[in-house]
């Protein structure tokens, strides 16, 4: 299995139908909005809208969801630059120099370079996705249940180890995610588990309710607590950067694409991690590092490029292995599963039109976002002025509607509210949220592949260590946990984990 021009062109022919163009545009608009508004992140945005897309065919729905995701990556920079409020955690490095530029009267060039860098990195990493994903999928064809189990275990352990100094809390967070997913009927035997005789719990806990709760509701609660108000906004003039600016940023765009794309292939390396790495790299190799933090335009180009490259790279493991590398990807995986599509090598084999149409639509979406972000940047910045007291109830309303629409039972809404409280306390007490989300999405596949692997080995767990690929993943899992332990032991001070919806 490899790259094929025929499939890509076929993908473009599907992505260019007016319906799919419309949903890509709609997703880009919603995504930019989600990115611009500080109270809601891409995972919540996708999770809230996911159940409402059931009237769409799978291809259009996933095209829209993907557009929301990368659209949010474009939009996150706007408020970071104009008012020093990053819409997403990944936009924090952008704010460092972007806001300084805005204060110097250069908000326009900063916004424009953010959009151009996002476009360049997004498009280049799409080439990476186009060529890498089918190769990885071909490799994944050799995977059996033991390899899949070990791969998912590796994904989870990487996400936990990247919880930084909160490794133990990362493990507990993962266990809570698994616990939520285990409630209800066992998918293999039908046995009721942890239901305490409740009929509602028999149906199980839907992971969309969990995700919307821990992200959207807890985020709204934190903003209400902080009494987030309206944002004041200065006018944006001189939109276009000079040629000298573009020339100065070219290297930063290319380097950040490489950093963002290759790190983005790893589970747990969310844009909030890679943007800092890319920013730091630019600062280190700069001839004049003192300019960074004082309005260096490369300090805007680098994190924005890495941001978009990482978000595109996440689709490689998602499509080829069915492995989500970040919570947003976990929600997209949930979307695919909702439509009965199982990501992984068989997706490329059985549904090539679908995969290639989504990939082709991402090329188109990137162009759309450049067009939306360059001339309309002033408008987007003004949307951020919507006061949070108006926005918060609307986000909660959308969350209630979204979770209710999954199965049309009120129980899901109560679950969402309970997980909203859990998410709020987890954030307050320094528990990372990403392991919980990933575990709740992966639990069923994890259990199924473990069951199948044990069937093959007649109950012997040695099967995970006797097959080379599975052994490699198991070793990587162990290394990532040991690395996490080392990071934790290295610095013994107590740090509250800062985490947002990404």
């Amino acid at each position: 299995m490899g790259f094929s021009w025929d499939y890509l062109l076929q993908g473009f022919s599907i992505a260019l139908t007016w319906q799919n163009l419309f949903w890509a545009l709609f997703g880009s608009l919603i995504g930019t909005l989600v990115g611009v508004l500080p109270g809601i992140g891409p995972s919540s945005g996708i999770a809230i809208l996911l159940p409402l897309t059931t009237f769409l065919p799978p291809t259009s729905a996933i095209i829209m969801m993907a557009a929301i995701y990368y659209g949010a990556m474009y939009g996150g920079s706007t408020t970071a630059i104009v008012v020093n409020i990053p819409g997403e955690a990944s936009s924090v490095p952008t704010a460092m120099d972007g806001y300084e530029m805005a204060k110097q009267g250069n908000a326009g060039p900063a916004l424009a370079i953010a959009a151009i860098s996002s476009f360049v990195a997004g498009t280049l990493s799409l080439f990476g996705l186009t060529f890498f994903a089918p190769i990885c999928a071909g490799f994944a064809l050799a995977f059996g249940p033991p390899e899949y189990f070990a791969l998912m275990l590796m994904g989870l352990s990487l996400v936990i180890s990247l919880s930084g100094r909160a490794l133990l809390k990362g493990v507990i967070s993962m266990a809570i995610g698994l616990l939520a997913a285990l409630i209800g009927q066992n998918p293999l035997t039908g046995a009721a588990r942890l239901t305490f005789g409740s009929v509602d719990l028999m149906a199980g806990i839907n992971f969309i309710s969990v995700i919307v709760g821990v992200f959207a509701i807890s985020e709204v609660m934190l903003n209400i607590e902080a009494e987030a108000g309206a944002i004041s906004l200065a006018g944006i003039k001189n939109l276009m950067p000079t040629w000298a600016d573009i020339k100065r940023c070219t290297g930063a765009m290319l380097r950040s694409t490489g950093v963002g794309f290759f790190l983005g292939l790893l589970p747990g390396c969310a844009p909030s991690v890679t943007t800092f790495v890319a920013y730091d790299l630019e600062k280190r190799i700069s001839r004049d590092p003192d300019r960074f933090g004082k309005g260096a335009i490369e300090g805007v180009a680098a994190p924005e490029g890495a941001n978009n490259a990482t978000s595109t790279a996440g689709f490689v493991p998602l499509f080829s292995f069915g492995l989500p590398t970040a919570p947003s990807m976990a929600v997209l995986l949930g979307g695919l599963m909702m439509y009965g599509l199982q990501p992984g090598p068989m997706l490329f084999k059985n549904n090539p039109q679908f995969v290639w149409a989504v990939i082709a639509s991402m090329y188109i979406g990137n162009v759309m976002l450049l067009v939306l972000n360059l001339p309309l940047v002033g408008l987007w910045a003004r949307i951020a002025v919507v006061p949070f007291p108006v926005l918060a109830p609307i986000i909660i309303f959308c969350s209630v509607l979204g979770t209710y629409s999954i199965r049309f039972i009120l129980f899901d809404v109560w679950v969402m509210l309970v997980f909203g409280l859990i998410g709020y306390f987890m954030r307050k007490l320094g528990f990372p949220i990403a392991p919980l989300v990933l575990a709740s999405v992966l639990a069923q596949m994890l259990e199924t592949s473990l069951q199948q692997a044990l069937l093959i080995s007649q109950g012997s767990p040695l099967i995970f260590f006797t097959r080379p690929i599975s052994l490699a993943f198991m070793i990587l899992s162990a290394i990532s946990i040991l690395w996490g332990l080392w990071v934790q032991l290295k610095k013994k001070s107590r740090v509250v984990v800062e985490e947002t919806d990404e």
Binding site: L52, F55, L168, K169, V171, I172, A175, I176, L178, L179, L182, N186, L188, T189, A191, A192, R193, L194, F196, M221, I224, E225, A226, E227, P387, F388, P389, V390, A392, P393, I394, I396, F397, V400, L401, Y404, S405, F408, L410, V413, W414, L417, F425, K428, L429, G430, F431, E447, L450, Q451, L454, L455, Q458, G459, K492, S493, R494, V495, V496
Partner: protein, 160 residues
């Protein structure tokens, strides 16, 4: 709560103890899962592992924090005003969900939006009313009529 867990260390001890109790509950519930012992992976195995992980993780967290002698970090809890704001908004959501069946989704969502916006921004009475009306109307036409989602219509108005 503010008195008990003012710092990260105390919060970790309290959450660790809570997790120990949760882990024990999960283990008890897992022991009551029936059948499947002939399976290679009996249905109670993963719940046992998860319960044990939560119990052990909680115990370790509580003990580690108990013995922690380094510099503690204060936790930022909401002040009285923020606590009231949060409670009212959460109660509003609970009421919204409770009245959804009798009043119907569209009416209850309009009322919820209007109340919440008004409560969070008292000066925006008209914004609250208009937003409530628009939400109710959009909810009815877009989600009810166009997308045909089977949302509760209200037992007060429709005896279906």
């Amino acid at each position: 709560m503010q008195v008990i867990v003012k710092t990260q260390r105390k919060a970790d001890i309290v959450s660790g103890c809570f997790l120990v109790v949760l882990g024990i509950l999960v283990l008890i519930a897992a022991s009551q899962i029936r059948g499947g012992m002939e399976e290679r992976l009996p249905p109670r195995t993963l719940p046992y592992i998860v319960g044990a992980t939560i119990l052990a993780g909680g115990a370790f967290l509580a003990l580690k924090s108990w013995r922690f002698a380094g510099k503690d970090v204060p936790l930022k809890w909401p002040d009285r005003g923020a606590m009231i704001r949060l409670t009212v908004i959460l109660l509003a959501v609970v009421v919204f969900v409770l009245v959804m069946t009798p009043l119907g989704f569209h009416l209850s969502s309009g009322l919820y939006i209007a109340f919440s916006i008004w409560y969070l921004k008292r000066s925006a009475v008209w914004t609250a009313l208009i937003a409530g009306l628009i939400t109710g109307a959009l909810s009815y036409y877009v989600f009810g009529q166009v997308l045909e989602l089977s949302l509760p219509m209200g037992t007060v108005f429709f005896n279906d």
